[in-house]
Symmetry: C2
Subunit: 356 residues, 2 copies
Amino acid sequence: MKIYPVIMCGGSGTRLWPVSTSRTPKQFVNLVSDTSLFSQTVTRLAPGSDGLDLADPIIISNSRYLGLIETQLDAAGISPLAILLEPCARNTAAVAAVAAEFVGRIDPNGLVLLLPSDHFIGDPGAFRKAIAGAVTVANAGRIVTFGIAPDRPETGFGYIRAGAKIGPSAFAVDSFREKPDQATAVTYIADGHYSWNAGIFLFQASLMRAELATHAADVLTSTQAALDKTVADGPVHRIDEAAFAEVRSVSIDYAVMEHTTNAAVFGPLSCAWSDVGTWPAVGDLQTSSGPVEPILIDTKNCMVHSEQGTLVVALGVEDLVIAVHDGAVLVMPKARAHDVSQVIAALKARDLTELF
Amino acid sequence: MKIYPVIMCGGSGTRLWPVSTSRTPKQFVNLVSDTSLFSQTVTRLAPGSDGLDLADPIIISNSRYLGLIETQLDAAGISPLAILLEPCARNTAAVAAVAAEFVGRIDPNGLVLLLPSDHFIGDPGAFRKAIAGAVTVANAGRIVTFGIAPDRPETGFGYIRAGAKIGPSAFAVDSFREKPDQATAVTYIADGHYSWNAGIFLFQASLMRAELATHAADVLTSTQAALDKTVADGPVHRIDEAAFAEVRSVSIDYAVMEHTTNAAVFGPLSCAWSDVGTWPAVGDLQTSSGPVEPILIDTKNCMVHSEQGTLVVALGVEDLVIAVHDGAVLVMPKARAHDVSQVIAALKARDLTELF
């Protein structure tokens, strides 16, 4: 069965401000190497010699990012099967519905590999092996999620608890768990059955349609209505604005995964995965601070990211993030990396909309 | 007797890097307000209604700063009596010799007011009153230094201990003291006779010539030789390079002040003086962080200086200096402000000469 990668890149995370902005979100920025996470994601899923039957990627995004998508696909030498443009954000249940509908209409037996474009995977081979392994599980009528082997009691991710074994590296899902507090995260690690929820799914298009029909019928029907009015121009499909605005905004986890009896978790994977969610996470991955190497004197454990040739000099400081981009400088302790939202709020309050 | 202000502006302090560089040193930068310290210095000495008989200023600098000097004098509406360009730096004894010679040749009875251009004086009226008071002392045959009333046991300045009273606010100099350690500085403050040495002098041109002839005759004669070969073009006088290079490099303190029996100290002055020597000192004076107000969230006691429209955002940090200028960002604790020299050394080691 053919696998249709459906790559979500419509989000605009702000925790990596000032580099990630709503104009150029994180996935399109060269954060940890000289290509973007989006570019790495599409490249990771290009046809290879490992037998994975992968279709050209389907990109789901917001219309404002079409230029970035086309430029970066072109640079990566990738032809998309389709670029589906959402006129507004309607959360991941709508995206799953769009993916299932779009692929189902092309290939009723097709498998959808739905995944974010803003994660880093250091071992693409291990990741592709996992997909190959999960195909059997998906073909057996499961919505497969991928569990990442946790290496610390991280409180920033959701967790999946594995239940009964249903195949090699495959388990029924015992439960999905929201981001835990520190004490709970420690018990998850000790338990041994928990893995991080990477938000990556593999499923038959037909199965997702059926599950949506059962658990979130309104999302399915309103998405179908919007798709019916989609205007295509070559690979670019613009989903109807008025119709798509009617779709209920809900996550696929709430809408389907927490209710279905057909959820499976594949893993736990060790593929050097990171959600690149905060500046310290960028620091853990980066091979370069930018075009000009910073000068660090008597510093410890600092993370510098600087674009556009600005020289960063740090003297006698510890555990700081120093990020420079496009007329803005951010300085904060790594421990405050989750509070960048406060900066965005301050920028909004000052009406500095061009800066985020 | 006419007072000839001789304003020294050839230095290129680097402790305020990245804003102060050898191309645009501290005295020519709008550091604490929307005019430069140089501009404030010449303006402070313009003719006023307080009866001070001030000549137009004589500027002593390095030839590389001629453009900055002419532009800023013009903007301040000041016509210089002369701009004396040193082809190389030869320390303050040579400057005093140039000043005494140049003024002495114009006006044998003239008084020289020799002063740095990179200090801040918040109360120019009090400063001018002190000069008026010191004129009597200088005319009585003293080299008058100005003592600043110390408000803390600062280790970054030299001190002057006042001896016998010789007039209103005027004392013989008991001794000059180099920058003390903390414990010594504390004893100075407790003693009550010490003031900070601001490096400002008022003297008869003829007296300084005589004192140099007695205590540093070689400096006087080699400076005279260099001045004799000076090429003038309007107010701009270019001191002969080969001849000036022969002048011994020594401070006026070592060469004359520590040996003469004619030193006096006037003060102590309370004129809101600062040497603006480090970034925290800038922070104490600044009325604005730059053209874009920084965003400071959960911060304490931070000092931001940012030019060219860069927005600085600090979150959850304390006691930091964040200075942004011309493609460079400096982040350090205020307590490390005296170590900026290490940054300059690192820039030199990397051959980033365009940056300092």
